[in-house]
């Protein structure tokens, strides 16, 4: 069967994560504190 080439693919939409996802990661990073006690690492979140 012939292929249809009448519809052009949209290049306007680039593959990028949502802004909220990136903001969440940046906030997560700011809030995460690792406290090493002996050989163990404790994770705490500071709001």
């Amino acid at each position: 069967m012939e292929k249809l080439y009448t519809e052009q693919p949209s290049n306007s939409e680039q593959l990028k994560p949502r802004e909220e996802t990136v903001n969440f990661l940046l906030n997560y990073s700011k809030a995460l504190k690792i406290i090493p006690i002996g050989s163990l690492n404790f994770e705490t979140f500071i709001n």
Partner: protein
């Protein structure tokens, strides 16, 4: 020196030493490539978003715990984490209970939206055209009867009146027309089935 021109390794070092803005630059620098990589595997926007987020959560925790191995390069390391998470995603999906037809009863034989999809519509259109082309190859009298009966929905009485032949002759022409059509289809091995 402009912070944006720093190498990945330098940004990672800055981030580990407490400079949060370095992470933002690393994410911005590699987000498109990483996101594209994940999407090319899972073909699902929401799943891509989740895996992208989980990848960087792992990156952040590893860096903050000081477990990052400087030997490797940053992006290949991040891609490897994403790759492992993609494998986990597919494993998890395989474990999810799915309905499978076991041969005794096919749920899709009773569940259907009733409308044909684009492919079927195109095939249907092609078949209709092929039948019309085949019809043109028939002798004129047979072609006329079939066209009047099938395309104009005329009764044999009306066809008989229109063509000036008896009903039996019209019936005969219809019959021979259909036989000839079948012969042509068989001879040229034309597939007119839309399944």
């Amino acid at each position: 020196m402009n912070i944006k021109s720093l190498s990945d390794a330098q940004l990672v070092r800055n981030y580990i030493s407490g400079e949060e803005s370095a992470l933002s630059i690393l994410i911005n620098r590699h987000q498109q490539r990483l996101y594209g990589f994940i999407f090319s595997k899972v073909y699902d926007r929401d799943a891509t978003e989740d895996i992208f987020q989980d990848t960087f959560i792992k990156v952040i925790r590893t860096l903050k715990k000081g477990k990052y191995n400087e030997q490797g390069k940053f992006l290949p390391w991040v891609m490897r984490i994403a790759h492992n998470l993609i494998i986990d995603y597919f494993r998890k999906n395989n474990r999810m209970p799915k309905f499978k037809n076991n041969g005794d009863f096919d749920i899709f034989s009773v569940l259907s939206d009733g409308s044909s999809n684009a492919e079927h519509k195109i095939i249907h259109g092609q078949i209709t055209n092929h039948v019309r082309l085949l019809l043109e190859q028939l002798p004129q009298d047979q072609k006329d009867v079939i066209k009047m009966r099938l395309y104009q929905d005329m009764s044999f009485k009306e066809i008989s009146d229109n063509t000036g032949v008896s009903i039996n002759t019209a019936l005969g022409r219809m019959r021979y027309g259909l036989i000839n059509l079948r012969k042509m289809i068989d001879k040229h091995k034309i597939n007119l089935i839309n399944d």
